[in-house]
């Protein structure tokens, strides 16, 4: 079973809650995906005045764990402040830490990420850092106190799947015991299946579901793909080869002359 910071989750799908046609459709998508953990982004203005209560109470009513994120934060200070607000609003020490370094690709600022992770971990937060596949950054994040990593598949919302499978495999192999969630860039269920086949523990999906023509149906499709990918990983996939290998032995074949 998937275990993140000592909490066992029955599903390997994590679902983002942004940009659904309506909260009602979000709720149905959550059910269809089977997820037990949803991410929520906090706009600071809304947190400060308790103005987003309506939406947040809907999220709390979903009956699943909430992982607040620090989306759209560009500095250590912003991210830390947002994490504090999130802890207050949702009563959880979990935080998905995002520090954006580049506006076009929304690529994480890994330097600020490590710094913010260190501060938050020291304050007792359980940090889920949104990072790249870089091994050295991963090492630093773990040193900073993170016990889960969330490497990107490709830039947020682009739907391009796993941009660098080689790098992701290397990351997986380098830290076999650290739970890793592929975060960002998943576009279709086959991308999610591939992530699990490579040995990643879970995927976080948002746009691929929320912007689908039928989000609920797409959520169900992801649930199946993730389950299939996990099963395939456990079953031990074959290695690709450069030449054909007949699956039926030729020896003993009838001689047709």
């Amino acid at each position: 079973m998937l275990k993140l910071y000592e909490v066992e989750l029955g599903s390997r799908v994590l679902l983002g809650t942004a940009r659904y046609p309506s909260p009602a459709i979000l709720m149905e998508a959550v059910k269809a995906s089977g997820t037990q953990l949803v991410t929520v982004s906090l706009r600071r203005e809304a947190a400060g005045e308790r103005a987003g209560q309506g939406f947040w109470s809907l999220i709390r009513d979903l009956g699943v764990r909430v992982l607040p994120n620090t989306a759209a934060c560009h500095s250590v200070k912003e991210a830390v402040t947002t994490a504090h607000m999130a802890r207050e609003v949702f009563g959880t020490s979990w935080v998905k830490l995002e520090v954006i370094g580049e506006d076009d690709t929304l690529q994480p600022d890994v330097f600020a990420l490590v710094e913010a992770a260190r501060i938050l971990a020291r304050e007792g937060f359980e940090v889920f850092p949104y990072t790249t596949e870089d091994l050295v950054v991963a090492e630093r994040l773990l040193e900073a106190g993170c016990r889960v990593l969330m490497p990107w598949g490709s830039p947020i919302g682009c739907g391009r799947g796993l941009n660098n499978p080689f790098g992701l495999k290397a990351l997986r192999a380098r830290f076999p015991a650290v739970p890793m969630v592929i975060d960002a860039g998943i576009g279709v269920p086959s991308h999610a299946a591939q992530s699990l086949e490579l040995g990643f523990d879970a995927v976080l999906i948002n746009t691929a579901v929320s912007q689908a023509v039928d989000p609920v149906r797409m959520a169900a499709a992801f649930a199946r793909a993730v389950a299939a990918g996990r099963e395939a990983y456990l079953a031990g996939p074959m290695e690709p080869r450069d030449m054909a290998v007949p699956s039926t032995p030729v020896i003993g074949k009838a001689f047709l002359g």
Partner: protein
């Protein structure tokens, strides 16, 4: 038969006019002192775009919106049924395809056809979606026109009047409550979705119809208001605080306008406004009967689009008892 309508936003005014025209004696109560002061309708875009809305809304919205088009054309002078346009810049062309996949009743335009419709957009976009049957209006002028129409039919608008008095004397006449978020105590699952907008003045540029500029992060629409004015909107933030307009929101709105046409760089900022839309969890409007009061609420970002169709259903219910199951809760 008498009826009291509470709340002079677009829902209340549409209901009041519909009731008056179907022979009811209407009194419309508004808690603020002037038209538009207390409602998010004042900040609306005024797009009558039922098929564009299919991009993110359910089919019911398109149906209510399509039905409402003729109502506006017949009752509010200045309603323009000149279609609407959807464009995206080169690297966002995928967004245009995605938009097309989720909507209907449009045609694809190439650069020349777009230039023929909107000469000032010539050479700026390679392709556009044209929703020929859609329209737009100026929400503020439309609210005033509805109030005037109501008075012409013998209806009364009372400003500074609380709906509480009406609700406390049940049985005398039915009350139709169109107070948006103020009805939250009764309609507990209402929530607020904040929107920020701005109005700019740019006499050099002319557009004849609303234009949506698609972008994966910040889709924005620009509605011509006549006399060189343009409304640019609108953000969607899960919040019920109708104050504070953030720099980020303004950057997004202005950036999109500038991307539509660099001439907007020279426009004068006339107004920045914010309102909070009342919405139910499914973002669909509802008629709800609670005791002697009929609530018309949850119009979300579809106030002008859907209010006439809801007003019709409310009138049917009052006059004939016929319920419209698609909106009754």
């Amino acid at each position: 038969m008498r009826v009291t309508v509470v709340g002079a936003g677009v829902a209340g005014l549409a209901c009041a006019v519909e009731f008056a025209e179907r022979g009811l004696a209407v009194e419309l109560l508004e808690r603020t002192q002037r038209l538009g002061a207390g409602c998010c309708s004042w900040y609306a875009g005024g797009m009558l775009a039922p098929w564009c809305e299919l991009e993110s809304a359910e089919r019911l919205i398109a149906e209510l919106g399509a039905e409402s088009l003729a109502w506006w054309r017949d009752k509010v002078p200045g309603t323009v049924l000149g279609g609407s346009l959807v464009v995206a810049h080169g690297r966002d062309s995928g967004e245009l395809k995605h938009f097309a996949r989720r909507t209907e009743r449009y045609e694809w335009l190439d650069a020349d056809a777009l230039a023929a419709l909107e000469p000032d957009l010539a050479g700026r976009f390679e392709r556009a979606l044209y929703f020929r049957e859609e329209g737009h209006l100026d929400p503020r002028a439309a609210l005033a026109a509805l109030a005037q129409r109501l008075r012409a039919r013998g209806g009364e608008v009372r400003f500074g009047a609380s709906g509480a008095a009406a609700a406390k004397s049940p049985g005398e006449c039915p009350v139709v409550d169109c107070t948006g978020l103020a009805a939250r105590e009764v309609l507990a699952d209402l929530r607020g979705v904040k929107g920020e907008m701005l109005v700019v003045r740019l006499p050099d540029l002319s557009l004849s119809r609303p234009v949506r500029v698609l972008h994966p992060r910040v889709p924005v629409y620009i509605v011509p208001r006549g006399d060189g004015h343009f409304m640019i909107g609108a953000t969607m933030i899960e919040s019920d605080q109708a104050t504070r307009i953030s720099v980020r929101s303004m950057l997004e709105l202005l950036g999109a306008a500038y991307a539509l046409h660099p001439a907007f760089g020279e426009a004068e900022i006339v107004e920045i406004g914010t309102g909070v839309r009342p919405a139910f969890p499914d973002n669909l409007p509802r008629l709800c009967r609670r005791g002697d009061t009929l609530y018309v609420n949850g119009l979300y970002r579809h106030g002008f689009l859907a209010a006439p169709a809801l007003a019709r259903r409310a009138a049917d219910l009052l006059l004939t008892g016929r319920e419209a199951p698609e909106v009754m809760h």
